[in-house]
Subunit: 219 residues, 2 copies
DNA sequence: GGGTTGCATTTTGTATACAATATGCGAAAC
DNA sequence: GTTTCGCATATTGTATACAAAATGCAACCC
């Protein structure tokens, strides 16, 4: 049992408040462009203004809020240009993740991903969109984790989180859905072949599709 | 004069404190691994603990500090692995910046960069290392700006700032210095040729040299 | 009517006070 | 001697108070 620690996770009010605000932003309860009133929010969240202000700083760093001196914090409102910029960087990062994952993937990883792919195809067959998206997300997170670069993972996740506030959940038409599932199959194959370049291309193409979807829903 | 505003820049104590702390970390006055005592620092900076704590949150988001609940903030201590991870991502980002810059560069940009290159070569000829580095930095910032993606610029700059705390300023031996200057010349040529792939390769190679330097100074 | 000024109120920024947790050290137990 | 316990003190987390800046609205002037 030497060296086996079980540290108790510690959280503080700023962290909890930031998490809660993140959710409120993503759900649209705090709309893009909205000015955040500290007194109201502190009452609403049941914390004093001090941890709330720290939470604002954290969310500003994540790009979800913008801090306006003497005017307080405002929910970021993404323009089409912002979205393009974000996707441009995300494509680069996810492409890198694909290359790294292809060079670092283990047989155990592949087994796991194949199981997830099977699960996602079942959701697809059942027309179960929520579960399809859930597993989809898990697969991407797994690939990112196999890449083994925490800075990469964190950077991608932070950028991706900004886009969640757009709530662009698409209604996948059947043909597109079939195509997306097939793309995922190809990703696993490229991973199994340790073909980094191919996986990068697939991930970038996949992301470009998502970008088109997001931009369409912004009209 | 319509639409010509001259907004007065506003700053707050958390922002000023964060900037000051950033400098103290980079200069080594706050050493890697050091625990930051709020009372001492608030006295030292002449601010109360509240804006100081907000500043800590900002620096934690930048990766310069790590926030330990109930134990306060600690200056990040980069391992060799951290450095490799950071460079891995930075190479991807700067490579992307190179591609974008090559597709977006104007003749005016090229003129400016050629002037900067001439200035840098003069510093090189005079063995003027501080000015060489200063102009070097300006050139890279310019390329990044020409890429025209603020998210990319910000991401790269944030990652790069983490490495400054390592203070790896190398003593350039003559041959290496000559080589670096030549590489910069090639970058301008690639830009002028709007050859994104070549510029990406040059920037990534250049950065790999920097990475080797950093890792060597960490031994 | 439009523009400016003055003032009350609200909101944000910061300092201070109080509460909770961590740390350090001496004393007690083995 | 080593380990554990108890307690004082220091530090961090959070709430509250005070100060500074912003906002809104009525009154006044052209």
């Amino acid at each position: 049992m030497d060296g086996m620690n079980f540290p108790i996770a510690r959280s503080t009010l700023p962290e909890a408040a930031a998490e809660r605000l993140r959710t409120l932003i993503i759900e649209g309860a705090l709309a893009p462009g909205a000015r955040l009133n500290e007194r109201e929010l502190s009452e609403r969240l049941g914390v004093s203004r001090t941890p709330l202000r720290e939470a604002f700083r954290m969310l500003a760093a994540d790009g979800l809020l913008v801090h306006l001196p003497n005017r307080g914090a405002q929910v970021v409102s993404l323009s089409r240009e912002d979205v393009r910029h974000a996707f441009e960087v995300m494509a680069s990062l996810e492409g890198l993740a694909g290359e790294l994952a292809a060079s670092r993937v283990t047989d155990g990883d592949l087994g796991e991903l194949r199981a997830l792919q099977a699960e996602m195809e079942q959701a697809h067959a059942r027309h179960d969109l929520p579960n399809y998206y859930r597993v989809n997300r898990t697969i991407h997170d797994r690939i990112n984790a196999i890449a083994g670069n925490p800075i990469l993972t964190h950077s991608f996740r932070t950028l991706n989180a900004r886009l969640h506030a757009l709530r662009f959940r698409s209604n996948l038409v059947r043909a597109k859905w079939d195509h997306a599932v097939a793309e995922h199959r190809e990703m696993i194959e490229a991973l199994a072949a340790r073909d980094g370049e191919r996986l990068r291309d697939l991930l970038v193409r996949h992301l470009r599709t998502k970008q088109r979807t997001v931009l369409e829903t912004m009209e």
